[in-house]
């Protein structure tokens, strides 16, 4: 009872006394920032390294304390945490989300704080674009920027009589390879995602490779641009693969997790994804035969383009100014410097490589310029524990492609509409691509017209 009363008293008086048991006056109060991005306990090498990083950061920034959180951005809990003022000061978000968060003004512009860093101007502009608004304000720091590619199972390629070192470069070649894989191995040759907005997201990349657009600007406003020949061709390809070739497997309602899980189990020949999905396949879904993981550039059919991907770190609008400054310092220290400074990159790679369960050396896009990236690559080379040659087709093929961002306005809402188009093509043999796109165009234009642009 006494304890309860004490605690109650402490709770009631806390605002007045600035916390029971806090340091006495005279000592400057440390700024405590809560940051997402701490690896879970299952990723021991990553977690150990994170803790070391925090200790090192706190040593060189005595006024700042960092509390790691294993939580990552989850749309389910984010809103509630934001409303309750409980969201972390740094959030880790997949690249599909920043534009929505920026549009809803739920995250802070960081350009002013970031530009204090000596190498800010050297950031690869393509990498910052998906994190910026139309006025050019930058809202975050990427962790590992990627470009979408074609992930494939090298074993299934070999079994189907295909060359694992030469992944398909065009969609015609993908179609032929998928047909061979499903005919010779009985597995799904190629899988396209279709639910939880990821059908629309993947259709966007497929459209880009065919020279198509999802949105275009007309008189200062964005309108739907996907009811066009390139997108019809892209959907026609899916239709042929699904119904004529029967090379896309049986279950068609998949999101990225379903696909990577099945790929890790050796059930899928090819899917569109980033090199970063290697980590998911190995560390989340326990892919044993990681040597079978191969990735090439995103195949093309006249578009010569790909979509960006990966995770980024943002600062929610709820964080006060002192925490924002501290958060940016942390972001630069934890995610930007190791991609700029070869010595920092090498020391982190060395720590991670001590555990065989880690994935060290998964290639990314250059966060700065190609010259700087080459220095980083060279520095970490001794510690790389992934089969780098299996990523080589992606590394060599991607630079010649244009990196394109996600649709500028209401991408998630547009993806939701396009999900139904992809689902119809994949589950209904009689679906008419023309009708589906015409209806989707009307729906999307209604959403875009209602949106604040």
């Amino acid at each position: 009872m006494k304890l309860t009363a004490g605690l109650l008293g402490c709770a009631l008086l806390a605002p007045a006394l600035a916390g029971c048991g806090s340091p006495t006056s005279g000592e400057p109060e440390a700024v405590v920032i809560r940051v997402q991005g701490m690896p879970p306990a299952t990723d021991k090498p990553g977690l150990d390294q994170f803790r070391k990083m925090v200790a090192e950061f706190e040593r060189s920034n005595p006024g700042i304390k960092v509390q790691g959180s294993t939580t990552v951005f989850d749309p389910l809990t984010f809103s509630a945490k934001l409303a309750g003022g409980r969201v972390e000061d740094v959030i880790k978000v997949p690249l599909t989300e920043p534009q929505g968060l920026i549009a809803r003004r739920q995250v802070q512009p960081l350009t002013k704080e970031l530009s204090g860093w000596a190498h800010y101007k050297e950031f690869n502009p393509q990498v910052l674009r998906p994190l910026s608004d139309t006025a050019g304000e930058v809202y975050g720091v990427p962790q590992a920027p990627f470009a979408q590619g074609l992930v494939y199972n090298r074993d299934l390629f070999a079994k189907a009589g295909l060359d694992p070192d030469r992944p398909p470069k065009t969609w015609d070649e993908v179609r032929a390879a998928a047909k061979a894989i499903s005919a010779k191995t009985g597995k799904a040759g190629f899988v396209h995602e279709s639910k939880n907005n990821q059908g629309g997201w993947q259709l966007t990349m497929l459209a880009y490779t065919h020279g198509g657009e999802i949105q275009r600007e007309e008189g200062g406003r964005h309108v739907a641009a996907f009811n066009s020949d390139p997108v019809k061709k892209a959907l026609g390809l899916l239709k042929e693969m699904r119904w004529t070739d029967d090379s896309m497997g049986d279950a068609q309602l998949n999101d990225q997790n379903d696909v990577i899980k099945r790929f890790a189990a050796g059930e899928i020949g090819m899917y569109m994804g980033t090199p970063g999905t290697y980590r998911l396949a190995k560390m989340t879904y326990g892919m044993e035969d990681t040597d079978a993981f191969g990735i090439g550039p995103l195949p093309q059919a006249g578009g010569n383009a790909t979509l960006t991907g990966g995770d980024v770190y943002l600062v929610p609008k709820s964080a006060p100014a002192d925490k924002v400054a501290a958060a940016v310092k942390w972001l630069l220290f934890a995610y930007a410097e190791p991609q700029y400074d070869p010595a920092a990159a090498a020391s982190r790679a060395k720590e991670l490589a001590a555990d065989p369960k880690s994935a060290v050396g998964v290639p990314t896009l250059p966060m700065f310029d190609a010259g700087q990236q080459a220095k980083i690559d060279e520095a970490v080379l001794p510690y790389v524990n992934v089969k780098l040659e299996h990523f080589r087709p992606w590394l060599e093929g991607t630079p010649s492609l244009t990196l394109r961002p996600e649709p500028a306005v209401q991408a998630q809402q547009v993806y939701a509409v396009l999900d139904t188009v992809v689902q119809a093509v994949l589950t209904n043999r009689a679906a008419s691509v023309d009708d589906l796109l015409a209806k989707a165009e009307t729906d999307v234009n209604a959403k875009l017209a209602a949106a604040r642009q």
């Binding site: 749309p75 389910l76 809103s79 934001l82 409303a83 929505g100 809803r104 003004r105 739920q106 279709s194 639910k195 939880n196 907005n197 497997g249 049986d250 279950a251 068609q252 309602l253 999101d255 929610p316 609008k317 709820s318 209401q410 998630q412 809402q413 939701a416 999900d419 139904t420 689902q423 119809a424 994949l426 589950t427 209904n428 729906d443 209604a446 209602a450």
Partner: protein
């Protein structure tokens, strides 16, 4: 939030509670003290309800007339959220799908536990084992059960197509076709939720006076006649209650379409609650989500009023 789980949970509402603090002969002072004591006992419940139910309900109602990003001060937008809601072509789809789920659940899910309970009531040997087996799915966490059934439904390697293939049927697309996806959801939901309703029916069947059966038997009534003319009429109040509870809970179907299909294929399993979820958590349109929740709450409120009335009149009879 499996339908059946809610049925059993809500069934407790129907149990009449003993009157607390009823002391009609006590003096005024005594009554005052009693009332104060009763109030003190009520405080924790009132606080919990206030903080976790009434305040969020009120907040939701306010948000339905606002535009907010949950950080900056909200702006009042009048009926704009409701207008946006009615302009969304998916609203009609979602309402239609929800009614389809409710209807199919009524058709498939409602008679199933009743039939099973009547059959189980006649079983003498190993009755406990059968009851345990029937109730078992209720114990399985809903998402786990759904993931299990997802594999059952897999068009290529799934259990159902495998079994049906043995007798030359199929393969069927199950979740992958707009025509069969909703039925597949209802089948799983019925399996998962039936246990609770079966137990309630069984308890009610036990309460039917055995003389009625004995008299009927002496008159030469067959089993079917006895079920039709004795069991079912005696169970009428319970059947009515469970029907209402099922209506209320199936209108809020969410977990099944969310985990099984994400609302697909082609929005064939997009329900009202899933649409609310999409507005709030995918689009960040909190106002629109709150507006639709408000409308759903009105419908559920009406159904609950019917339920309360029915409970009162049935327990009186």
């Amino acid at each position: 939030m499996s339908a059946g789980r809610t049925w059993t949970a809500r069934a407790r509402v129907a149990v009449p509670l003993p009157a607390v603090g009823a002391a009609p002969t006590a003096g005024k002072r005594r009554l005052g003290r009693n009332a104060l004591t009763a109030l003190l006992f009520l405080v924790p419940a009132l606080v919990v309800f206030g903080v976790f139910s009434w305040w969020p309900i009120l907040r939701g109602l306010l948000i339905s007339f606002q535009e907010t990003n949950l950080v900056d001060p909200a702006t009042w937008v009048g009926l704009a959220n409701f207008r946006a809601l009615f302009a969304d072509p998916l609203l009609g789809t979602a309402i239609g799908n929800t009614l389809l789920f409710v209807g199919l659940a009524l058709l498939i899910g409602f008679p199933a536990p009743l039939v099973l309970a009547v059959v189980l009531a006649t079983v003498r040997r190993g009755a406990g084992v059968y009851r345990f087996l029937v109730y078992l799915p209720v114990v399985v966490p809903p998402v786990v059960a759904i993931l299990l059934w997802k594999w059952f439904y897999d068009p290529g390697h799934g259990l159902f197509n495998g079994l049906l293939g043995l007798v030359g049927l199929g393969p069927y697309p199950w979740l992958d076709s707009p025509g069969t996806a909703m039925v597949s959801l209802v089948l799983q939901s019925t399996w998962a939720g039936m246990g609770g309703a079966v137990l309630i029916y069984l308890a009610a069947i036990v309460g039917v006076p055995s003389e009625l059966y004995e008299a009927a038997q002496m008159d030469g009534a067959s089993i079917w006649t006895r079920v039709w003319h004795i069991t079912l009429p005696q169970l009428r109040p319970v059947i009515g209650l469970l029907l209402l509870m099922q209506l209320i809970s199936t209108m809020q179907v969410f977990t099944e379409p969310y985990v099984f299909t994400g609302g697909g294929p082609e929005n064939a399993t997009l329900t009202v609650l899933l649409l609310i979820f999409r507005y709030a958590f995918q689009d960040g349109a909190y106002g629109q989500a709150a507006a639709l929740s408000f409308l759903l709450a009105i419908v559920l409120g009406l159904l609950s009023a019917v339920y309360l009335r029915a409970t009162r009149s049935w327990s009186a009879s």
